[in-house]
């Protein structure tokens, strides 16, 4: 890894160098009813729109790499014949400017499932390979528990990662492309004082975490508490709405639908992201539903995130971004659910 520092004034120049590409980054989405600023990832058309000091985004990056609805292939139907057209729906490289560590870690986790050696998903991989990622340091919010999930810092999966040192940025550089970009702006190697400042910033960030999840022996505890009453209690609240999976940066479940057009000359196969909380997630051919109760479905969401994935990959499928708890109208949050399963009722971060 190479390191550079550059003055904050240079950021605009870096943006301009990259702006020959599409840029996606955190932008403002107005305010909620309590006048708290809202942000989301979107295309950025002007440097001024880029909100690098954003708290968190409502939705994850999935819209760009694993869209809620995606045509996998289309067909032209002819008499006694058909032609299949496959589009990976990745047309141009996109620069992702300003991802927090949790969201980069989320991509790295998705890679294990969707870009692995055995069953790579070409639609995902095509978009993933066309990403240029600039990470940016963050300020832990009251709902962030990424530190507990080991996702508060990121070691790979980006081209460049920027840390705000006050009047300059400290850049960690992981790719030759990123290094080339920096050659277009005024930057230099960091000195001893900047090394020092970089470490201080990391320590200051660490002190700001207020929300924690105890993951000690969590896989075992989940096995032990499979029949615990708390699951039913959470299940009674759950709306089975799928919002948690929709906003989650690492939920990847989907269903595939085939439809013939009204003109009977075209057809398409479409993928829709789904959620294990939805009533028919575990319904199989013939109509049997393995998880007809919302508490079972909710439980399995936690089992996949915090147990199944850990067994398969030795890490959790949750990065602790807190989006699901924020978006859940029934106030079902990961820290509280895990605490209740551990027998710590009334735990609030």
């Amino acid at each position: 890894m190479l390191f550079r520092v550059f003055s904050k004034n240079e950021l605009k120049n870096l943006y301009d160098i990259l702006a020959v590409n599409h840029i996606v980054g955190p932008v403002s989405k107005g305010c909620n009813k309590n006048s708290t600023a809202l942000y989301d990832f979107d295309f950025v058309y002007d440097f001024e729109e880029l909100q690098l000091e954003y708290s968190a985004t409502i939705h994850s990056l999935k819209r760009f790499i694993l869209p809620a609805k995606e045509t996998l292939c289309s067909f032209t139907l002819q008499k006694n014949n058909w032609q299949k057209h496959v589009e990976l729906n990745a047309y141009k490289p996109i620069v992702y400017f300003g991802l927090h560590a949790c969201d980069i870690n989320a991509l790295n986790k998705l890679d294990k499932v969707l870009a692995g050696k055995i069953y790579p998903d070409p639609y995902y991989a095509a978009k993933r390979n066309n990403m240029f990622i600039i990470g940016v340091g963050c300020t832990p919010q009251p709902f962030c528990f990424c530190h507990s999930m080991g996702a508060d810092s990121v070691l790979h999966g980006f081209d460049m990662f920027l840390t705000d040192l006050g009047d300059s940025y400290f850049a960690e550089i992981l790719s030759a492309r990123a290094f080339e970009c920096l050659s277009g702006i005024t930057c230099r190697e960091p000195g001893k004082s900047e090394h020092q400042r970089f470490l201080e910033v990391a320590q200051e960030k660490m002190k700001r975490f207020t929300c924690h999840v105890d993951t000690t022996d969590l896989t075992k505890i989940l096995d032990l508490e499979f029949q615990a009453d708390v699951w039913r209690e959470w299940g009674e609240k759950c709306l089975s709405c799928g919002t948690c999976a929709n906003v989650c940066p690492t939920c990847y479940c989907y269903g595939v639908e085939e439809n013939v057009d009204l003109d009977m000359r075209h057809a398409a196969k479409t993928r829709h992201l789904y959620s294990c909380n939805l009533i028919d997630f575990a319904e199989v051919a013939g109509g049997h539903n393995f998880r007809p109760h919302s508490h079972d479905r909710l439980k399995y969401r936690y089992y996949h995130k915090h147990r199944g994935f850990v067994e398969a990959f030795e890490e959790s499928l949750c990065v602790g971004c807190g989006r699901c708890g924020n978006a859940c109208l029934a106030n079902i949050t990961v820290p509280e659910v895990i605490a209740s399963v551990r027998g710590k009722e009334g735990y609030h971060g």
Binding site: A68, N81, C241, L262, D263, M264, L278, D280
Partner: protein, 262 residues
């Protein structure tokens, strides 16, 4: 285009004889079908339409599929619906009025029907009774939800009917589509919404236009109405406000007493 010309992968497609009927309604659902001019001809070419007041002048009582919009609000509509049922192999309830009673059933809220008549029709009363959905009188084979129905959904249903494919509706609530559309949740903006309990399929039509859902498609396959009442309260909305929405289209009627008694 004639019947013999319509093929799917070279296999001739049989065009079922279809009729469209209107009971008590605004006929908005029928108009909705005719709305999308780009696909209208393809739509009409999939069916042999023998009765469609809004679109064709031909009339025949020989049909296999009956699309019925509207609810029952007058005694003479009952024998009419029964005779449609007797003729049709497949009876489709089209739109919220047909599925649940729709906006019309709001008048069932008032115990004094004469007073309602007086308010609506003044000195020219017409015969009217409590509003019922089609399923209260006859067996309904297929529901197409919405007020109005979503044209794209009907097109899909008809294509699948003609091809003999199964017809599936979203079982999940509107929130699923709302999140897919990247909307900011209306509760965060201080507005109530029935999206968490209402069946999806409208592509979150209202929330995507910054209006809370009023539940026109009726309950999702699992609808946690009790929890939504709690959520409404936490966000400062009264039980009355929620009831107004739940009662608007009639889809939630089975939940209403339970909710009032809570």
């Amino acid at each position: 285009m004639t019947a013999s010309e319509k093929t799917y992968l070279g296999v001739p497609v049989r065009k079922p004889r279809a009729a469209f009927f209107s009971l008590t309604s605004c006929e908005g659902c029928q108009l909705q079908l005719l709305n999308n001019e780009a696909t209208l001809l393809d739509f009409l070419s999939l069916l042999t339409i023998v009765n469609f007041r809004e679109a064709v002048s031909e009339r025949s009582e020989n049909y296999e599929i009956a699309f019925v919009e509207g609810s029952i609000s007058r005694a003479d509509e009952i024998p009419r619906l029964k005779s449609i049922r007797a003729q049709a192999q497949t009876l489709v309830a089209m739109g919220s009025c047909a599925c649940f009673g729709g906006v019309n059933q709001l008048k069932n809220r008032f115990s004094d029907l004469d007073w309602v008549k007086k308010q609506v029709y003044g000195d020219h009363p017409i015969e009217t009774q409590d509003v019922l959905p089609l399923s209260a009188i006859v067996k309904v084979d297929l529901n197409i939800y919405g007020c109005p129905i979503k044209k794209e959904e009907v097109e899909k249903v008809i294509t699948n009917l003609v091809l003999g494919k199964s017809i599936d509706y979203p079982q999940y609530p509107v929130c699923m589509e709302c999140k897919a559309n990247q909307n900011v949740c209306l509760f965060d903006l201080g507005e109530p919404c029935l999206g968490p309990i209402t069946r999806a399929g409208c592509d979150s039509w209202c929330p995507s236009n910054r209006l809370g859902c009023w539940g026109c498609r009726g309950p999702a396959e699992t609808a946690n109405v009790r929890q939504l009442k709690q959520i409404m309260r936490e966000h400062g909305f009264s039980d009355e406000q929620m009831l107004d929405r739940l009662e608007c289209f009639g889809g939630f009627s089975k939940f209403i007493n339970e909710l009032k008694n809570q």
